[in-house]
């Protein structure tokens, strides 16, 4: 009996105290600790893929950044039955605590952090057993080129959103080029940001070579050139804008000149001619992120009548003529759920059929298109050579408008030409998120009158001058509460 007791006591104590240290070292099963990441080139490529992933975020090109910039201006209007999405944006009352300004900010700076983390660590990767050192080195170089180009895009999108498009303005955006734990980070000047964007693009250009040259979903030399043409145009370096555009136009790109071609471009997201870069969307897991088309049609996969939140304004509808090939692809008349007479809705994002069984009204966002590059060059050339500008405008209209009489363009005086280039840009790029920035850099205001009873009363805000402080989004309250060094834009509560 005594022996029994002793055995029980010993066993009980021994059972508990075994293997304790090892058990306390629990590593998360579904995430990698950072020291294990940059140990091979495959993982480094995964991190690079992670730097692309923010592009499809709903706070960025996956949704907000495509539609909001047309909602806050004169291209899109809210219907009187709209579901209160973008409430502050459609009324132009957004402020520092409006969610979308914080979400855009956090998504973009997180994206830059991803790039910075990648660039800081990628050089630590060495070949592992069975890998060729030269191949690994080449991969590293092409990966870095892509990372620089993406950082340029992220920084440029932040800068044009939160700051004036003016190289002499003091209030750029805060910027870090390495992973940091610093919390007080002041804004830099627009010029400092701009220089960094240009430097990143140049760096990317020098490293990219022929990497991904036939890809439309990864950074290649055309991506870099197209973005350069936009950045230079924004900051009025017209020669460089035009030169960069030429690098794209030297490739095999061009206009879709048939209705079928345009349908393929906008419905199927397929065009070797028009698309320079679109976001890579794999149907099953990713297409749900890019279903912004539901704002424009919203018919539950065709089972209900459309119930759109946002429809084209009269002023944008009036830009499209019957002979314009784009009209049928950009706009369509529908009988809607909540209004007695048919309305013209946005048809640009009708949903890619190959995503349909996973996500209704999903289309891959097309960030860089041939037409935009041509328009960039056209506008730049207006300041360099009016003749070249006219040639480009005629080419675009001939491609898009059946039987277009190019003599009309030849007859334009300078003021008309500039105006027509701008109108053409608004028409071609409508609902793609350009309107807000174009008005901003042109120094133009806009007008949003009440189009009809189908338009939400509060959406009809009337005339908005170019001097409206809301052309610069508010620095989010959430950032400024920690980062007290970040100055608020003028106009917003400080």
């Amino acid at each position: 009996m005594k022996l029994n007791k002793t055995i029980i006591c010993t066993l009980a104590v021994a059972l508990t105290l075994s293997s304790c240290k090892k058990q306390l070292n629990q590593l998360p099963p579904q995430a990698l600790t950072s020291d294990l990441v940059f140990t091979n080139i495959t993982a480094a490529e995964s991190v690079l893929n992670g730097t692309y992933a923010p592009l499809r975020s709903g706070n960025y090109y996956g949704r907000n950044f495509v539609v909001m910039n047309d909602i806050t201006t004169d291209n899109l209007i809210a219907t009187s039955w709209f579901s209160n999405n973008y409430s502050d944006w459609q009324r132009n009352t957004y402020n520092s605590s409006t969610y979308e300004t914080r979400d855009f900010w956090s998504t973009l700076y997180n994206a830059i952090h991803r790039v910075n983390t990648f660039l800081k660590n990628v050089d630590n990767v060495s070949p592992i057993a069975g890998e060729n050192a030269t191949t690994v080195a080449a991969s590293k170089q092409s990966f870095k080129a892509q990372a620089y180009a993406l950082r340029a895009l992220y920084l440029f999108d932040l800068l044009r959103t939160y700051s004036k498009i003016d190289l002499n303005d003091r209030l750029g955006v805060p910027m870090v080029l390495e992973p940091t734990t610093e919390i007080q980070i002041p804004r830099q000047t627009v010029k400092q940001n701009y220089d960094q964007i240009i430097s990143d693009l140049n760096q990317a250009e020098s490293l990219i070579g022929e990497t991904n040259v036939t890809s439309q979903i990864k950074v290649n030399k055309y991506f870099i050139a197209a973005l350069q043409s936009r950045v230079y145009l924004y900051y009025k370096d017209y020669q460089k804008a035009s030169d960069a555009a030429d690098k794209v136009m030297a490739g095999s790109f061009g206009y879709e000149t048939t209705a079928a071609g345009l349908t393929s471009l906008w419905t199927n997201d397929v065009s070797t001619k028009e698309i320079i870069f679109k976001i890579g969307i794999e149907a099953v897991q990713e297409s749900g992120a890019v279903n912004y088309g539901v704002f424009f049609i919203n018919d539950n996969g065709g089972s209900l009548l459309p119930n759109p939140d946002f429809i084209p304004s009269k002023s944008v509808i009036d830009l499209f003529s019957a002979t314009d090939l784009r009209t049928a692809q950009y706009l369509k008349s529908y009988t809607v759920r909540q209004f007695a007479t048919p309305l013209t809705l946005v048809q640009k994002y009708p949903g890619n059929p190959s995503y349909k069984s996973y996500s209704d009204k999903a289309n891959a966002p097309k960030l860089l298109r041939y037409a935009e590059v041509a328009l960039n060059k056209m506008e730049a050339q207006y300041y360099l050579s009016k003749t070249t500008a006219k040639t480009l405008l005629k080419a675009l209209r001939s491609a898009r408008i059946t039987g277009y009489n190019t003599a009309l363009v030849d007859a334009y005086d300078d003021a008309t030409l500039l105006n027509e280039i701008r109108i053409e840009r608004r028409r071609e790029l409508a609902f793609e998120g350009h309107e807000f920035f174009d008005l901003k850099r042109w120094g133009l205001g806009f007008s949003r009158p009440k189009d009809g009873t189908y338009m939400a009363t509060e959406n009809a805000i009337g005339d908005v001058p170019a001097t409206n402080y809301r052309f610069q989004w508010p620095i989010p309250q959430a950032e400024r509460e920690s980062n007290k060094a970040a100055e608020q834009n003028p106009g917003y509560a400080n």
């Binding site: 029980i8 006591c9 990441v37 893929n49 605590s97 969610y99 900010w105 997180n110 089972s303 509060e458």
Partner: protein, 977 residues
């Protein structure tokens, strides 16, 4: 030889006398308190060891040799009674409870059992009976108002939903606020109580201060709720059957929405409808209060049968239960089956063992509870237009709705009623524990126990092709399972010598947790009639996770008493947890408690009106590890780009991350008067949380919104008072009164260092040094401009502005969503078996954002698709000069400002029960009934509040479309055989 003769003589004598003069005495032992029979009372003949125990009916029969004429009755917790044997062979004894022991909790806290009166901590006991038989899917709701310092708040009225429980305020900012729940030694979650049978519960001990909780170490910071289940008895057999049946309905709700006439006037005024619209006369024929149309009055019922049996060697308890509670939301269904077996067995004179096993299963059909969805039944009830008839001529739900924001959409109720959409979950819970207890010596006991808590939770839902046309139907399936285990070894020492008593324990413990989640969605069914997950042909998404947690502990506790007057209690525990940074995995927690039983002092011993006076005090530390499983690592998580695998930084690491510590201080005073007719307890506490694990908000340029660090400090200070009185106590008539009150003051005293405030974006919840946790900070509304109809706000400097900007929000002094004052009072009155019981709760100083009301009042294009509050048209700005408009012009915004902050203080009649206890003499005629009780009960019958929303009890900062707590009406029986 002489001895032998003597023995022989004695044997003969005894035998003869036994034959000649033995008497058999029989009788019944009852409690003087409630006149209920007392089973298990030891009945002995004075001066001898011979004795018997009373059976389950309290009766005994004992053979008394002649010459012996005194019987001694002893029973734990009662004063020893002695009876002279006189002429009669019947002796009935009424035993009175031991005054000095009442109101002092004996606590066996899984580690140590202390002598009565030895406890130096703050512990409140709730009898299991007070929690059972009330119709709550999750029994924790029934702890509301039972003891001071414990606040129970409903997060949802969905059957089975767990409440939030806060013990002594809110002691953390980012870590869990929930107490540690322990059932028979096994830690469980609040949600697990929905899986358990409330009738199985014997007692709930609420452990609050350091002396009581430090032994729970890193998990004791928010207090501990220690639940003990019923076990077998040492003689006889009790069979108990309890049942209730009743129904529920929505609480009195306060929003008045527009009727058809008001609605049509509004529509004409805002230009949605022409004044001469020919449809108007037809629409006026329909005028529905949609709340009555949409909510249902479901039935609820419960049946529970238990058997307690055993003998000196083996005791057993069996129970089985079925409970059903359907919700007031359409298609909200819930039911539970549960069974328990508990066996204790004394295998050897020195070895005891036992096992308790419980299996419970709940089936649930979940309604759409999405807070900000118009498909949420509760929201729909308000937002449907008053002229919308949701039923057809036969009274069935119409397929599609016709008007407003719902025009052309499927009627959610039709969809549910016809099985086009479901979400069903099944939750299987296995809870078991087993122990082995060996008496090594008379004073030393070794105990080894093992417990396991296993859950398998699976379910899913589908949308038929009809309503998910784009997908051709879709479905999801979800499976998760988790296992918590605990292994505990303790060595106890109990010794009393002279004036000294010692209870001590040393022990070790190992806790582990593993959980897995797997879910998948698929689309495209082979046929609209096939809606089982496997029939959907196109998989669309999968996800899964695995988490592990381990904790090792060593612990010790010693309680020393001198003359039952002075007590010292010391405890220490060292925990090592996988949750913390590699540099700081181990933490040590301790407590010191002192107790002084003043009543035992000579100068009070003869004061007869004072039954008890005791002072307690304690100080010590506990930890909070409710922070997720892997917060200390620098992590990269998975993502994809174009379907290719991606990695992305997801968490900034902190290898130094360490324990959040709560230092608790408590002084308490317990007193009882007039033979315990009046009891009183008071506690003052001051708990300081420091080294908090904070999600420190950083610049987004770091790539993160926040990083875990140990920072900050806050305190909760308060007083708790409890009072109990037996006002009248006579043969036929009793009147008892109980009340408790809690005041808690919370202040954040340090935060992040580089900034001393945090405003949750869009939430209005402001955490700042110098303010309470849960402080509200909002933009201030001023008035409606009489000329323009615009909303005018005050900016942060108090100047009027029409420009709403989050930067103008100001702290609203004294307004927070955690109430500082909580209390309850109950009255139990009975006369000849008939009785009335009432329990009231109150909460004072609580503020909630009534977001639901904002949804009802917003006055613009988007929101005018839905019905609006009744006075919107009448009181909105219509033309210049409307200077006292309550609402802005049509087309105003949807901003949040202090208009929607409401005082959510309330007084609620939590329970009103009318009962009848059948009297003994009546029952004894049946031969088999021991106890019988019938009752009718109403829960939440009356709520007095200024709050205009669904339910002031809802605990969060912001109330939007919550599933409201219902009123319940039940009729029940409780019989023992």
């Amino acid at each position: 030889m002489k001895k032998l003769l003597q023995s022989l003589f004695m044997f003969l004598f005894v035998a003869v006398s036994a034959m000649a003069q033995n008497r058999t005495i029989s009788g019944t032992v009852t409690s003087s308190e409630d006149r209920q029979p007392l089973p298990g009372v030891s009945v002995k003949i004075k001066g001898s060891n011979a004795g018997v125990s009373t059976d389950s009916k309290g009766t005994f029969k004992i053979t008394v040799p002649s010459g012996q004429n005194v019987l001694v009755f002893t029973f734990i917790g009662y004063n020893t009674a002695t009876r002279q044997i006189t002429g009669s062979n019947d002796i009935n004894v009424s035993m009175s409870p031991d005054a000095t022991l009442l109101n002092e909790v004996v606590i066996s806290n899984n580690y140590i059992t202390k002598r009565k009166g030895a406890e130096t901590g703050s512990v409140s006991l709730v009898d299991g009976d007070k929690v059972a038989s009330r119709p709550s899917g999750n029994m924790l709701h029934n702890l509301q108002g039972q003891v001071p310092g414990v606040v129970v708040a409903a997060g949802s009225g969905r059957p089975g939903a767990a409440p939030q429980i806060f013990i002594r305020g809110q002691g953390s900012i980012n870590s869990s606020l929930a107490p540690l729940y322990v059932v028979d030694g096994q830690p469980v979650d609040a949600s697990d109580f929905a899986q358990l049978n409330p009738e199985d519960m014997d007692s709930f001990n609420v452990l609050k201060d350091a002396s009581a909780t430090a032994i729970y170490g890193s998990r004791g910071a928010n207090g501990v709720i220690l639940v003990t289940t019923k076990r077998g008895i040492k003689s006889g057999t009790d069979i108990n059957y309890q049942a209730y049946y009743g129904y529920e309905q929505i609480n009195n709700q306060k929003f008045k929405m527009m009727n058809t006439q008001q609605r049509l006037d509004y529509e004409v005024a805002i230009g949605r409808r022409a004044a001469n619209d020919p449809a108007i006369p037809e629409l006026l024929k329909s005028d529905f209060n949609q709340v009555d149309e949409v909510f249902q009055k479901p039935q609820t019922q419960s049946h529970s049968l238990s058997i307690r049996t055993g003998n000196e060697k083996t005791q057993a308890f069996f129970s089985g239960e079925y409970a059903q509670q359907n919700g007031i939301y359409f298609d909200s269904k819930w039911e539970r089956y549960g069974a328990r077996v508990t066996v204790d067995h004394k295998a050897k004179s020195w070895l005891k063992m036992g096992i308790s096993l419980y299996a419970g299963n709940t089936n649930e059909r979940q309604p759409n509870e999405t807070r900000n969805s118009t498909a949420n039944t509760g929201m729909m009830a308000y937002l449907l237009l008053p002229y919308e008839n949701i039923r057809d001529a036969e009274g069935n739900f119409k397929q599609r709705l016709q008007y407003g924001g719902y025009a052309g959409a499927y009627n959610n109720l039709w969809v549910r009623a016809n099985d086009y959409q479901h979400t069903d979950y099944q939750n299987l819970k296995l809870l078991g524990n087993t122990y082995l207890e060996a008496d090594v010596t008379k004073d030393i006991k070794l105990r080894s126990s093992y417990g396991a808590n296993y859950t398998s939770y699976y379910g899913g839902g589908y949308n038929a092709p009809l309503i998910a046309a784009a997908d051709n139907g879709n479905a999801n399936r979800y499976y998760s399972s988790w296992m918590d285990g605990i292994q505990r070894n303790t060595l106890n020492y109990n010794h009393t010598f002279g004036d000294h008593s010692i209870a001590a324990v040393i022990g070790s413990e190992y806790n582990f947790h593993n959980d897995i989640v797997f879910s998948a969605t698929a689309k495209n069914t082979s046929s609209p009639l096939l809606l089982e997950f496997g029939s959907f042909q196109t998989p669309s998404a999968t996800s899964g996770s695995l988490n592990k947690y381990r904790m090792f502990s060593a612990l010790a506790n010693v309680n020393y008493g001198y003359k039952d007057k002075y007590y010292v209690d010391l405890s220490i525990r060292r925990d090592g947890s996988s949750k913390f940074g590699r540099n700081n995995r181990w933490g040590t927690f301790w407590s010191t408690g002192l107790g002084w039983n003043i009543k035992k002092e000579a100068f009070l011993e003869d004061v007869s009106w004072l039954s008890l006076a005791k002072i307690r005090g304690s100080i010590g530390t506990t930890g909070n590890d409710g922070i997720g499983y892997y917060p200390s690592y620098d992590l990269f998580g998975s993502t994809t780009y174009n379907g290719a695998a991606g990695l992305t930084p997801t968490q900034a690491g902190n290898p130094d991350l360490s324990w959040e510590i709560k230092r608790k201080f408590n002084v308490g005073f317990d007193a009882a008067f007039f033979k315990n007719r009046l009891t009183f307890t008071a506690d003052f506490y001051n708990d300081v949380t420091y080294n908090m694990v904070l999600n420190v908000p950083v610049s987004y340029l770091t790539g993160y919104s926040s990083i875990y660090q140990n920072m900050g400090r806050m305190y909760n200070r308060g007083i708790e008072l409890g009072l109990g009185a037996q006002i009248v106590k006579s043969k036929d008539f009793t009147l008892n009164f109980n009340t408790n009150f809690t005041y808690n003051k919370n202040r954040v005293t340090e935060l992040y260092g580089f900034r001393d405030e945090l405003l949750g974006t869009g939430t209005g919840v402001y955490t700042a040094v110098g303010y309470m946790y849960g402080q509200l900070k909002y933009n201030r509304f001023s008035h409606i401009d009489g000329q323009t109809g615009n909303e005018v706000y005050l900016d942060k400097n108090g100047n009027q502005t029409t420009n709403f900007d989050g930067g103008d929000a100001v702290v609203l002094d004294g307004k927070g969503f955690y109430a500082p004052y909580n209390g309850a009072a109950s009255v139990d009155f009975s006369y000849k078996g008939f009785g009335l019981f009432m329990q009231w709760n109150y909460v004072v100083g609580k503020y909630t954002i009534n977001n639901t009301r904002a949804w009802m009042e917003w006055n613009n294009a988007s929101w005018s698709n839905y019905n609006r509050v009744a006075d919107l048209y009448e009181r909105m700005w219509k033309k210049p000069g409307d200077n006292d408009a309550k609402y802005g012009k049509y087309g105003t915004g949807t901003n949040f400002d202090d208009r929607y902050i409401e005082n959510a203080s309330y007084l609620r009649l939590r329970d009103l029960t009318v009962y009848y206890n059948f009297n003994k003499s009546l029952l004894s005629k049946t031969k088999f009934l021991n106890k019988a009780r019938v009752y009718a009960r109403a829960n939440n019958l009356v709520t007095i509040t200024k709050y205009s929303g669904y339910d002031p009890e809802y605990f969060n900062n912001l109330e939007l479309g919550i599933y409201p707590v219902s009123q319940k009406f039940t009729f029940g029986v409780d019989v023992t055989f």
